[in-house]
Symmetry: C2
Subunit: 463 residues, 2 copies
């Protein structure tokens, strides 16, 4: 059977149902030859994709036809939700064997997704060395460099020569997370330098050169407790394949590789987008999230926003008599409120992305404030002019003086929205919160109420 | 002087002003020793950071103290805006020499940022081989795999042995973008397989093994015209260091490396966030964007949203007599409109992030619609209940029947907003637009007007 048919049609993360009937038939007839072929003929990520439509139990049965290496490789490309399902439902001893073969960082990620009871059960079945490693890595809080790192890293002594290093590498290449950076450590495991495999290969013509001569000491490192976003920005900025993780005494603890950094960048980006869109970030994929969790993650923010909206209702009721007198002001109400909210969410979006990318820090707040005040004022004047034209066309205001209420309000509301939208994320950042958290809802709430107050007071002043 | 002071305090992308006075003094006194030291003592990315506060002309003068290799490396870490400034203002022959030393993908990126006139002038000064390469790579439209790829890639013939491959590698390691994947091609440059340096190093004990035996033929490739987002998702999903780019006849064209993928992921994420926040994506950093460009990129969307808001004003004027009669409905107006808009932007945000990450495709639209209808209905009922309580507390509705207007409207508006918010991005995607483009503004516009219509018609029906 030609497994490569349908490979091109398949996008990562999508469920590919093309071979499900064939796979099920093979399982039913225990077709060893075809199932072995399925487990080895394709890139393990592709094999995993084809299996995504199967039930957990079926997937596990398919994996039994793979040799141990392929099984581990295919397993790690299954979706996190499926991995958990399999671990929680299948034979514990076999699962423990599988887990002890995973890379150290993948192992900890997986274990932390399991229930406490199953974690404990599996831990007791995992060999002592791996168990200690899992426990050590689990100490680092989620979101820190320590929690991301792998400890399967090549450590060499300074006195090793190029030839010895290459020999060492050729013996052990298979068991390390990456062999593309070799870390040179002293007897106390202090990180002294790094040699890239590129340098090592280039130096093959001088096989007796010691590592100490070859190694680069201008290294960039991260500390274990640093935030994963800092790690991601540093690796991205320096185009690194991996970054070493050290403690505050510069002991070598492990490394974080480029693939984990891409994952962090993607996940943090989605989380930021979702927060800005007033959704509590999803842990799993959109379709993989239970409707109850989905409703909860949206509901809490809708409620908060509802109560913000309620403030506008209170404010408007307070101005009830005024509105009854000048009823021609009412149609413009949503327009004015949304103009303030929109300019505010533009500003907060820009400030949040700039903070995430590391393009500004909260120390830049005064520069940001000046800039936003200026751009906001400009945009406000422009929208105000549009409002003037519109007020003329609508022609529902009683006189020329009255026609100025809407344009003046628009100018002020847009400027105020811009300023609020830019300063709130910086304030949240200062207070130690995620700047994307709560910003847009708060911006909307504050600028809505402010918009109504400005509108009504300008009207009072002019009329 | 100890250049490493202040390194830790510096975040990527921020302007580090710590050494500016010292640097300027060294330039003034032509302090060769210290300036050479500055150009070589640190990681080139750090050196570039310290130089960011300098003028283009000063940066260029500092770079003259670096040897050619360091100059290229420091230059590539300067911000894109600064690179362009230097290229446009400094000696053309020296710039052409620098450009011809850059990696092929960086070279094309830089050239495409320059004005046509300067591009032409520089091209004429660049050696013929590099010129042809730039021209060939420039053919691929921005945002495609072809435009991202580098052509400095190791190509080996199938008959080469491990020993020969290692020799070849050690001779040429310095000049390739990555040496961690070696691509095996036939005489017509068709891609036949890939050998990782890890495999090669492991196989050192069997030096006469031919590449054809060692190579992996289960390869994942991209075609040159595929979108950069597809490339990024594939590399991220498969944890690759690099992915080969081929044409439709499977000729090897080049590779895309992990660092370029991280850049794409970061850039696309910021762009999505900015589009969702109704800002036309910025090309440069927040502080690096001219106020005029900033005002323009925000102004166009504010205007579009303004005209959407105008529709609400028109609608409200249409219902003017009704509103005058039932003035107690007015205070709830912004609350109802914003509830619909908020639930809509939640849905569009979720659908956009799921599309970007490849978790859904537009073929899933029916599943998404069912899901959103269900979750939206649930959220709507919940907000409706809140609305019922609020209407009782406010106590401004004339009777028990009238008190039902706000809750019923809220339920319907939230459900409608959810459905619109989820379907519009899929529709845009279907029409070939970026799903993040225009979605939130359109969602807001449509759900605002719809909200008013639902509100008024429910009121008519009940009262």
């Amino acid at each position: 059977m030609n497994w490569s048919r349908g490979v091109c049609a398949c996008r990562p993360g999508m469920i590919n149902t093309l071979y499900l009937p064939e796979l099920r038939e093979m399982l039913a007839s225990d077709n060893v030859v075809e199932l072995r072929e399925f487990c080895t003929a394709l890139h393990p990520a592709r094999t995993a994709e084809f299996m995504e439509g199967l039930e957990a139990e079926e997937s596990w049965r398919v994996l039994q036809y793979a040799d141990e290496d392929s099984r581990v490789q295919i397993f790690i490309y299954l979706t996190p939700e499926r991995q958990v399902e399999i671990c929680e439902s299948q034979d514990r001893d076999a699962i423990a064997r599988l887990i002890s073969k995973l890379a150290s960082d993948d192992r900890v990620d997986l274990m932390q997704r399991l229930s406490h009871e199953i974690q404990g059960d599996l831990l007791s079945r995992i060999p002592a060395a791996e168990r200690r490693e899992i426990q050590r890595l689990s100490q680092y809080p989620e979101g820190t460099a320590g929690a991301m790192m792998s400890i399967n890293v090549v450590r060499l002594s300074e006195s090793l020569t190029v030839r010895e290093a290459l020999d060492e590498l050729s013996r052990q290449a298979e068991q390390f997370e990456t062999i593309y950076y070799l870390y040179v450590v002293d007897a106390e495991q202090h990180l002294r330098g790094v040699v890239s495999t590129r340098q090592l290969v280039s130096a093959m013509r001088h096989p007796n050169t010691p590592m100490s001569e070859l190694m680069e000491t201008k290294m960039v490192t991260v500390e274990a407790m640093e935030d994963q976003e800092v790690v991601a920005n540093r690796v991205a900025r320096l185009d690194l394949l991996a970054i070493p993780v050290v403690d505050h005494e510069h002991h070598m603890l492990g490394i974080i590789t480029h693939d984990d950094v891409i994952d962090v960048v993607q996940r943090e980006a989605s989380e930021d987008v979702q927060r800005i869109g007033a959704v509590e970030p999803l842990r799993d994929s959109y379709l993989g999230t239970h409707w109850l969790i989905m409703s909860w993650k949206r509901g809490i923010w809708l409620c908060i926003l509802f109560f913000c909206g309620l403030l506008t209702a209170v404010a408007l009721q307070g101005y009830g008599s005024q509105l009854a007198k000048w009823s021609w002001l009412i149609p413009f109400l949503p327009l004015i409120i949304s103009s303030g909210g929109n300019s505010g969410s533009q500003s907060s979006t820009l400030v949040i992305t700039a903070l995430t990318r590391g393009h500004i820090t909260r120390k830049d707040w005064l520069r940001v404030a000046y800039r936003e005040l200026f751009v906001g004022g400009l945009l406000g004047l422009f929208l105000g002019t549009l409002g003037l034209i519109v007020a003329q066309l609508f022609g529902n205001s009683p006189g020329p003086l009255e026609a100025m209420v809407v344009p003046i309000t628009l100018t002020l509301v847009v400027t105020a929205g811009t300023l609020i939208g830019s300063m709130l994320p910086l304030l949240f950042h200062r207070l130690g919160f995620d700047p994307a958290l709560m910003s847009n809802p708060f911006v909307a709430g504050i600028s809505d109420v402010l918009g109504i107050m400005i509108y009504m007071n300008i009207a009072l002043l002019i009329l």
